[in-house]
């Protein structure tokens, strides 16, 4: 019988192969996929997230956990097609036009996904039109914008204006992040939230959607 506590621990410790093997055994034994996600996988990500917040874990450990979570989730998600949604919110994310940096955005996307959000990653150098199209198409709850340069961060305002002009602003929360961005800038351009790192981004997203 699959040891589900061990599954949770293997995600917390970032052991990809163990997480995948234990998930496979659990599914073969008929364990409810939804239960695996909500009671063990997301719980594991919350635990490593808290350790990071408490400075008891480092960024790579957060990522190793997200990686193990992704591996396990890949086995579970196909079984949930047509069933009730496993996501706690839908997020469109991308690095704004003119900027090609994506490692920070990639980390944020992974953590959000690991913590139960559905993430649509548009990549880098994304135009305001492309963000508008994706938010409409996916009926996103949150739009997350990233920039690493002082020359590109102002484009975040262009994207927010475009959301407004297309009537999407009341429907979508907007959060921003990236090295030159701070809370003051986020407030100035009319964003709803700002986070300084991937773990904070999860808290920010949950807060924006009133998720406990």
């Amino acid at each position: 019988m699959a040891d589900l506590i061990q599954l949770k621990d293997s995600i917390v410790k970032g052991r990809l192969n163990d997480a995948v093997d234990l998930t496979r055994v659990a599914l073969d034994e008929g364990t409810d996929p939804q239960l695996l996600i909500t009671d063990y996988m997301i719980t594991a990500m919350q635990e490593i997230g808290q350790k990071f917040q408490d400075k008891q874990a480092y960024v790579p450990e957060l990522l190793m956990a997200a990686r193990a979570m992704r591996g396990a989730l890949n086995l579970v998600q196909p079984l949930l097609v047509g069933e009730k949604s496993v996501t706690i919110g839908k997020i469109v994310i991308g690095t704004v036009f003119g900027d090609l940096h994506d490692i920070g955005k990639h980390l944020v996307a992974s953590m959000l996904e690991g913590c139960g959000f559905e993430v649509i990653d548009l990549g880098v150098n994304v135009s305001a039109d492309a963000f508008v199209k994706a938010v409409k198409e996916h009926d996103a709850d949150i739009l997350a914008l990233s920039a690493l340069l002082t020359t590109t961060m102002n484009y975040m305002k262009t994207v927010i204006d475009a959301m407004d002009q297309n009537g999407l602003r009341p429907k979508v929360k907007i959060m921003v992040g990236g090295a030159p961005v701070n809370k003051l800038f986020a407030d100035q351009i009319g964003a709803d939230g700002y986070s300084a790192n991937a773990n904070e981004a999860v808290h920010c997203a949950k807060q924006l959607l009133n998720i406990q």
């Binding site: 790579p60 990686r67 990639h106 020359t151 590109t152």
Partner: protein, 230 residues
């Protein structure tokens, strides 16, 4: 004294670089700690790959110039690096622009991990790229220091647009002083260097100058992502 020139590439190989494990671990967010076994195995595997792939390039141009208040003049062109950087370049009347890059091959290698979907591999490959880029800068500075030492001169630390309050858009004017496609590095309209893991810097040259370490405590940019807690 060094005479102004039109800029030329230096010969540099990956095996010439002094890569610091401690710097890599710090860049990856470990602080002064070391990675555990699983992460260490991944880091070692990617370092071995980088060893085979990386073709670094670097170049140096020497120019005349001067510092006036918070402004810097290089070969007749004015820059606004701000008070902090100008302070450290004060007293020099010869300067160097250096350009250092991990090269296109390594940038493409990092990109391949970005699109592979494995976030940890992407993160480590990106961190290795950053540390290699800094190592190329260090090697280039050593070459420059040796060159000017023959004239009885020494060099300051290196200062780049984007740091210590020097606006990154001044990369455009800085690149205008370099030969076209110097070291294979190009600049986008948003002042982003391609390959991404590239560094451009200005260095002061003089008989009585010192290479001062970066001092985050004197910089007003409190939200700088390179800021060290002090």
């Amino acid at each position: 004294m060094q005479m102004p020139d039109s800029g030329s590439e230096i010969s540099i190989r990956y095996s010439d670089l002094e890569l610091s494990r401690a710097e890599l671990y710090s860049t990856l967010g470990y602080g002064t700690s070391e990675p555990q076994a699983d992460a260490l195995a991944l880091i070692n595997r990617l370092l071995a790959e980088a060893d085979n792939i990386c073709r670094p390039r670097a170049g140096i141009r020497i120019l005349d110039g001067a510092v006036e208040g918070p402004r810097l003049r290089l070969s007749g062109n004015w820059f606004a690096p701000g008070g902090i950087i100008s302070h450290f370049l004060k007293g020099c009347d010869v300067f160097s622009i250096i350009l250092a890059t991990v090269g296109l091959e390594m940038d493409e290698w990092i990109q391949s991990y970005r699109v592979s979907g494995d976030v940890m591999e992407a993160f480590v490959a990106d961190g290795i790229g950053s540390v290699v880029a800094e190592a190329v800068v260090d090697k280039t500075k050593k070459v420059l220091a040796q060159r000017v030492a023959k004239e009885g001169c020494s060099i300051t630390n290196s200062y780049s647009p984007g740091y210590c309050g020097w606006h990154v858009r001044e990369q455009q004017a800085l690149f205008a002083l370099l030969p076209k496609d110097f070291c294979g590095v190009t600049l986008t309209d948003s002042s982003l260097m391609l390959p991404l893991k590239s560094v451009s810097s200005v260095i002061g040259i003089g008989r009585d100058v010192l290479s001062q370490p970066y001092r985050c405590d004197v910089c007003r940019k409190k939200d700088c992502f390179r800021r060290k807690d002090s």
